[in-house]
């Protein structure tokens, strides 16, 4: 493979990873924006999405549905994974966050962490500790640019993540509920005084964020061909790094941060020993927090404590 095709290949990888991190980071950033807490269970929701994807896909494949209704299959897989995880997100909000909205920060963080431990172990029990293969539905069909092979599946995933991000942007900026969400994030008391039911907006946030994460989970499964109960952990830290890098609370920031983190990771694995790539992300995260805690596009973040 010559240099140009190598670069194209890596570019596709970077865009893919970047959009995955962006989708997950959006969930963090939205939840953080509205309740100023990090949803520790977000990584597990992402994994749950991937598993629901497997289940639906496997079921449809058994029925022979995939060959006949390919597009519908995709819609069903993504739709069900996202819908289910959205419900899960609301459940987590209700069980772990809502009762603690006025409690100390530490209590809320710990309860969210408890949820994360609970879900991750639940998935371990139900799905086992080994990798589970994702049914390959795209096959290997694709096209070549120079010598670089690009599968249709990759293109589809990248386009879908773009669509989701654009849809989110439209929702947040153009709809009444989306605007109410932004208002709640900016000034909760004032939002309530204008008649906005913040319980509802928070609930919606806890549906959309996890749903995006679930979509990312299915995409990761389809792209790499396998999922594992604990894969959420590493994605969670990277997406968090992306959210912080872009400026937590900022939606465009999350996308930008995701793409940067994805790019750095791909660059690193292309030229340097890839077993150290995760360490790089952590180092980036820590450097950003240390040098510019408000991130690239972030508003000023108050440096208050727990």
């Amino acid at each position: 493979m010559d240099n140009a095709s190598f670069i194209i290949q890596q570019l596709i990888n970077a865009i893919f990873l970047g959009s995955i991190y962006s989708l997950i980071a959006l969930g963090y950033t939205m939840v953080y924006g509205i309740i100023e807490l990090i949803n520790f269970a977000h990584g597990e929701l992402f994994t749950a999405g991937a598993f629901i994807g497997i289940i639906v896909l496997a079921a449809l494949q058994n029925m022979g549905f995939v060959e006949t209704h390919f597009v519908l299959t995709l819609i069903l897989v993504f739709g069900m994974a996202m819908a289910y995880v959205a419900v899960l997100g609301v459940a987590i909000e209700h069980v772990a966050y809502k009762p603690l909205r006025k409690a100390s920060r530490l209590a809320a963080i710990l309860s969210a962490l408890g949820m994360s431990i609970f879900l991750s172990n639940g998935m371990m029990l139900s799905q086992g500790v080994s990798d589970r293969a994702y049914p390959a539905i795209f096959g290997l069909k694709g096209f070549s640019i120079l010598d670089a092979r690009i599968a249709y599946g990759q293109i589809f995933i990248i386009i879908l993540s773009l669509v989701l991000m654009v849809a989110l942007n439209m929702f947040v900026n153009w709809t009444k509920l989306g605007k109410a969400m932004r208002a709640t994030a900016q000034n909760q008391t004032m939002a309530r005084m204008l008649g906005i039911d913040i319980d509802r907006t928070i609930r919606v946030t806890f549906m959309i964020g996890p749903a995006l994460g679930a979509a990312a989970g299915v995409m990761v499964g389809m792209y790499y061909g396998s999922v594992r109960f604990d894969m959420g952990f590493i994605y969670m830290i990277k997406a968090f790094a992306a959210a912080i890098l872009g400026g937590i609370g900022s939606i465009p920031g999350a996308v930008l941060g995701g793409i940067i983190i994805g790019g750095v990771e791909v660059l690193w694995s292309a030229f340097l020993p890839s077993e150290w790539k995760d360490v790089t992300t952590f180092v980036v995260l820590i450097l950003v927090l240390y040098l510019r805690p408000s991130g690239i596009l972030g508003e000023h973040v108050s440096e208050s404590r727990v």
Binding site: K176, K179, A180, R182, A183, Q186, N187, T189, M190, A191, R192, M193, L194, G195, I196, D197, I198, E299
Partner: protein, 240 residues
């Protein structure tokens, strides 16, 4: 003068911040269609009174009636739905939303699109400056513009009662005059106004009735014109 039906009535309202007894039994009745003002020194509990009416702070004891209906057990969003709106202390506009979006949020509870558009025009008539700033983020507006936006936003819900907390705070004298003129204009449209002010002279001169507050209690209640003449008020709040 005939006694008008009170639109808002507070009966012996007590509010606490933790262990601090902030309101020690506030009672007042604001007649429908009036401008009433609440004056007093810093920390007297004026803002707390407004926040308590809105349910942001919970009244521990006492009753708050809006058009005869008790609202002290309601949450802020429910109070808003009853037809009260507020421009709180510090304006509290949404800094990362445009002027237009801020105004739209004011009409959050309404579904009558056409009339909302009409009201938006009305707000732009009241505050023409805002019209040139529709696409600008709230956080980038000047102090006076933010104040106008906050009042405009409060009007967008078509309230029957408008609670205004220190609309003159931090504004140039000319602007203050303009704001007070607008308040009178809004009142003429039939909106009852409950005004909290440090600028006692201005507030009393546009109000029908006035309340003087000291350390959590209302110590003086009278017609605004007579309060302006009151020796004690003159000395303490009008600087004469």
């Amino acid at each position: 003068m005939t006694v008008k039906e009170p639109i808002l009535e507070l009966k012996d309202v007590h509010t606490y911040y933790g262990n601090i007894h902030a309101l020690k039994g506030i009672s007042c009745a604001i007649p429908s269609g009036d401008i009433a003002c609440l004056i007093g020194a810093n920390g007297a509990g004026k803002s707390t009174t407004l926040l308590t009416i809105f349910g942001v702070q919970r009244a521990k004891r006492g009753e708050i009636l809006f058009k005869g209906y008790p609202i002290h057990h309601l949450r802020p969003e429910q109070v808003a739905a009853k037809g009260i709106s507020q421009t709180p202390e510090g304006r509290q506009i949404f800094p990362r939303m445009t002027t237009l979006e801020n105004l739209e949020m004011g009409a959050y509870l309404r579904n009558d699109k056409a009339e909302v558009a009409d009201d938006m025009e009305w707000v732009f008539d009241l505050f023409p400056v805002l019209k040139d700033r529709t696409r600008q983020l709230g956080g980038t507006l000047s102090g006076g513009e933010q104040q106008m936006l906050a009042i405009g936003r409060a009007l967008m819900s078509r309230p029957e009662l408008l609670l205004l907390d220190e609309p003159s705070l931090g504004l140039a004298p000319k602007l203050v005059e303009k704001i007070f003129e607008t308040i009178l204009e809004i009142n003429k449209m039939g909106v009852t106004i409950f005004l909290v002010e440090q600028n006692a002279h201005m507030a009393l001169s546009i109000s029908n009735s006035g309340y003087v507050m000291e350390t959590g209690r209302i110590v003086l209640t009278d017609r605004a014109a007579r309060l302006l003449e009151n020796e004690k008020v003159k000395k303490a709040y009008l600087g004469e």
